[in-house]
Symmetry: C2
Subunit: 315 residues, 2 copies
């Protein structure tokens, strides 16, 4: 089936066409750009919720239960579950998508797991592309669930309208690391598995860090809630805070500014990825070049300049 008919079919809510287009985008098919260009004018109506936090914090369970409540309220929900894999072993960090199956058969929901092989930049690009497809299809909400293990969790702010940071009482390292960015991107904080000891300490640690945050007029005060996701405790409260944050950013014209900033960041990433890909594709074609350049103790900067000059000479 060609791209045009697939795109026509997602306009008429054909889930199989959606699944095929997502696969195409995920596999970095050469037609990705054509697809994304064609569906772009259909996007912009859905709302994007990002769920991030350390491995084992219970993000899947929260995502699962959030989706159920939204469904019960008559909304449709797309879910992108991002599983970064080790750049070394290729093993999946999270394998617990099984639990998702209980809601996966519902017509109002669409779940896609995405794995990557270490390239977090590329992952962010693909997450954006898939979120656009879900948005174009017409899902009211897209939930993007991603494991935060450092810089990568900061990427979620480039894609989401509301970011929920999930930790557990034991997340000492993560709370420390929040100083380096996670704190700044969280619109809502959830201390999950809060039946365990230390949850009050975790709430206070986040509270103290949030006091260091920059304040401006109309600025949002991120709520910190306690949840026990596997017992569905606190999820209603979480949804209320998400709705309140949505209202806040729409009322204060933050939503459009955020979208515009996201577009700029996204274009920047696409440009850089394309240029770098083209650069190294050219090198591979140049079968003899690499070895010669790296011989004889030449300084890395001299080698680099030679490679750049060869690249430019090919334009």
């Amino acid at each position: 089936m060609n791209i045009d008919s697939l795109v026509e079919n997602i306009k008429s809510k054909n889930r199989r066409a959606l699944a095929r287009l997502i696969t195409l985008v995920e596999n970095d098919d050469v037609q990705t750009e054509v697809v994304l260009d064609k569906i772009y004018q259909l996007t912009g109506k859905g709302y994007r919720i990002g769920i991030t936090g350390p491995p084992g914090a219970g993000k899947s369970t929260i995502t699962n239960n959030l989706a159920k409540i939204l469904l019960a309220a008559g909304k449709t929900v797309g879910i992108i579950a991002v599983d970064p894999t080790s750049p070394f072993t290729g093993g999946a960090l999270l394998g617990d998508r099984v639990r998702m199956s209980e809601i996966g058969s519902n017509e109002g929901i669409f779940i896609r797991s995405m794995a990557t092989r270490g390239s977090l930049g590329g992952l962010n690009k693909k997450t954006n592309d898939v979120a656009d497809l879900l948005d174009a299809f017409g899902y009211d909400f897209t939930i993007i669930e991603t494991v935060g293990v450092g810089q990568s969790e900061l990427d979620i702010v480039k894609t989401s309208d509301t970011v929920v940071v999930v930790i557990v009482p034991e997340s000492g390292d993560t709370i420390q690391a929040m100083k380096a960015g996670l704190m700044e991107i969280g619109d809502i904080f959830a201390v999950n598995k809060s039946e365990r000891p230390g949850s009050e300490n975790a709430v206070n640690a986040i509270k103290n860090m949030l006091m260091l945050r920059d304040r401006s007029s109309n600025s949002w005060e991120p709520p910190i809630i306690k949840t026990v996701a596997h017992e569905n405790k606190g999820i209603d409260e979480l949804i209320n805070h998400i709705e309140a944050h949505k209202k806040h950013i729409l009322d204060n014209n933050i939503y459009n500014k955020r979208k515009n900033k996201q577009l700029h960041t996204r274009v920047k990433e696409i440009v850089e990825t394309k240029l770098i890909t083209e650069l190294w594709a050219n090198r591979i074609n140049d079968a003899t070049g690499d070895d010669v350049l790296f011989e004889g103790g030449t300084s890395p900067y001299k080698i680099a300049n030679e490679i750049i000059n060869q690249f430019k000479a090919n334009f």
Copy 2:
């Protein structure tokens, strides 16, 4: 003073010349490449130890005590302490270089703190450049201490000959995240502050993860040690393991392979950084372009292609 005299002066062990060249490299001076090209043939004699782990694990204290013991053994030591700052607030993640001052006045040691404003890629490049300067100056060991809060800690393997991963008994999230890479880069693991409860559990958790590691013949079995750095406990043992690892990689021809791989990675990063820098520098000169492109609901891929075409047209 010109570059040539500064380079001549580091050959004659002038520490002020070294400090000035490091500052120049840190500030991304246009002459960075000239300096690095000139000193490159002086490098390759020193040994590089990377110390990484979550914030608050005691990496500075370990670095400090390691340096003291090496000094006492008649070795000279350069230290690069990398403090990534938040891409949002610019606040320093670690401010405890003060403790370093007790050893900083020793002639056999040179300490440099490096901060960054969010660009971890650029940070890795600068760390390499500064390590080259310390190596060229003639320091027997260069210790690179860097806060690991995700992908960034994986960078240390691109610079170091031996990587020490430091955690604390409470580092539950970090041990989880190790599945995603940290485990693969550690040559030695230290559970610091091991007087606290849970240290045996932390050792076992690492042990279990290491069992999943790929094995090949001649492969190194990473030791897991317990330290109490602020009481100087376990540091002798750590040095013994570092020496053993050094011997292992030299005896098994791993050292040269590692260096060669590091050179390739480094050249790749330099090429990409330079090309991307040039790309956006051109855009800023093009005062009217940006706004027009981003208007009118054009798809991000269309905007990106237009920017790339404009860039190429300028060659």
